[in-house]
């Protein structure tokens, strides 16, 4: 067999797509999309690194900045979201021993992320739309530097990804709470309350503690998905805002840049983006460590209730840390810089430190 045949049909033709279940096909699609965009990010990253040392004649500065803008978005949304969503759309039903609420919706998520990523990447590649992933106002609407049509297509691509993300959020929460057809009625509200940490919080004040209804990894996925949902809302709103300016420009009626307060926008944007960086990433990672530690050792997680509580605290902390991105904004109120930017941010050391400690002690406890 040649390379192409092996690539398409598997080793000795053992890959039989028709024998795969719909769930397996769905997950493989996510993996392939995730890897394809990982390759994009890898190649772009290396090109930019070379450019930093010595400019490449074939890449003019506008192209470089277009690459710089698209690269983190391709990495986060095209690659990481694909791999993580694919994994969790498998893991939640698997750990809860019930079917995924909708494989069709999961496939829509995959398709929207794949198409959306290619859309904004291509718009950036062709038109060099380059306001950077930070999108500091009013740069996304600066049409003296960027093509308004290129910007429109770019933002449309991002919007498609966010719609796919909302579908993922819906699928995860529905899977947790729903009763599959023909099954005995499940306590949907109780399952959600356990997944989100509300019943755990109530347990602090109860004499007779209620058992947790979902496993720790499912709780981690649920809480990270809350941040995923909030972030999708912020980015969708921001995208619509930028689109309004672009459509006005196309219609010949330019809106003044100063209509939007740049500082308020920056606070809004970073609140939203930190839900990825300081929210879902840390929560999903901690949950994955806990799952791996218990799978590897075959033992219960050390300090499991502390781990569960820390996941809830991490979720709440992620809503409060955004000012650490505004520490050199002199117009940002000092109390926000100190409370949000420094003190609560420092608290992440506790929550993540606990995650490290709990995982390592669980692994250590299984030593021969």
């Amino acid at each position: 067999m040649n390379f192409i045949q092996t690539f398409m049909d598997g080793e000795e033709g053992l890959f039989k797509p028709n024998s795969l279940t719909p769930m397996q096909k769905m997950i493989l699609r996510f993996v392939v999309v995730g890897l394809v965009y990982y390759l994009f990010a890898l190649v772009e990253g290396m090109l930019m690194r070379v450019y930093q040392v010595t400019p490449i004649a074939a890449i003019p500065p506008d192209q470089y900045f277009g690459m710089l803008t698209a690269h983190p978005l391709v990495g986060i949304f095209g690659s990481t979201y694909s791999i993580v969503f694919g994994a969790f759309l498998f893991l939640v039903p698997f750990l809860m021993s019930k079917p995924l609420w909708s494989i069709k919706l999961a496939n829509w998520t995959c398709g929207l992320i794949a198409v959306g990523t290619f859309t904004f990447w291509f718009a950036g590649f062709l038109t060099h739309y380059a306001p950077l992933y930070t999108l500091y106002w009013p740069l996304p609407a600066d049409f003296t530097q960027f093509s308004v049509w290129g910007g429109n297509i770019f933002i449309l691509g991002i919007a498609l990804i966010m719609v796919g993300t909302v579908f993922f959020v819906l699928n995860i929460f529905k899977t947790i709470a729903y009763t599959p057809e023909g099954w005995a009625k499940q306590d949907g509200k109780g399952l959600m309350a356990s997944a989100l940490g509300l019943s755990g919080l109530k347990n602090l004040f109860r004499k007779n503690k209620k058992e947790h209804m979902v496993s720790l990894p499912v709780a981690a996925i649920a809480r990270g998905t809350v941040d995923t949902a909030l972030n999708a809302g912020i980015i969708l709103f921001t995208g619509v805002l930028i689109l309004i300016y672009m459509i006005a420009e196309i219609a010949g009626s330019s809106l003044k840049h100063s209509s939007i307060d740049a500082l308020l926008y920056k606070n809004w944007f970073w609140w939203g983006l930190d839900l990825i960086a300081d929210g879902l990433v840390l929560i999903f990672v901690a949950g994955t460590w806990y799952l791996l530690a218990t799978l590897i050792t075959g033992k219960k997680l050390f300090m499991e209730n502390w781990a569960r509580a820390a996941l809830f605290v991490e979720m709440v902390v992620s809503w409060t840390v955004w000012s650490h991105h505004l520490m050199s904004d002199q117009a940002q109120p000092g109390f926000l810089k100190i409370l949000s930017g420094e003190m609560v941010t420092a608290f992440e050391l506790i929550t993540q430190g606990l995650a490290f400690f709990i995982t390592l002690i669980t692994l250590w406890s299984a030593r021969p």
Partner: protein, 109 residues
């Protein structure tokens, strides 16, 4: 000191404007005496920029964001002589890559 800058009287204040990817300085060279507390008050007319002071070895002394529609000021205590370059420390599009004002701040004894 910077958090309490509203309560501290600056020895000198420089008002700088940024517009169309250019720094508009109050003079060709800004001369400061050693141990002066200096207020840099930077205003943007359009985009979000940065304002940073860099030493001759290209290390950064300080920087701040410059947001349109807001006061962007920083109070700095210059403790020793030196010559400094101003650079924009925030991306403002491809047109902003050349925002460097070389050796425009000089601290003398």
């Amino acid at each position: 000191m910077d958090l309490n800058r509203a309560d501290i009287k600056a020895d000198k204040t420089f008002d700088i404007t940024v517009a169309d990817h250019k720094f508009i300085l109050p003079s060709e060279k800004m001369i400061i005496n050693t141990n002066d507390k200096v207020m840099f008050n930077v205003t943007s007319k359009d985009l979000t920029y940065g304002f940073g002071l860099f030493r001759e070895d290209n290390t950064m002394m300080f920087q701040m964001q410059v947001l349109p529609g807001h006061n962007n000021d920083i109070l700095w205590h210059f403790e020793s002589p030196g010559v400094y370059t101003i650079r924009s420390t925030e991306y403002s599009g491809p047109k902003g890559i050349g925002m460097i004002e070389k050796n425009v701040v000089e601290v003398i004894d």
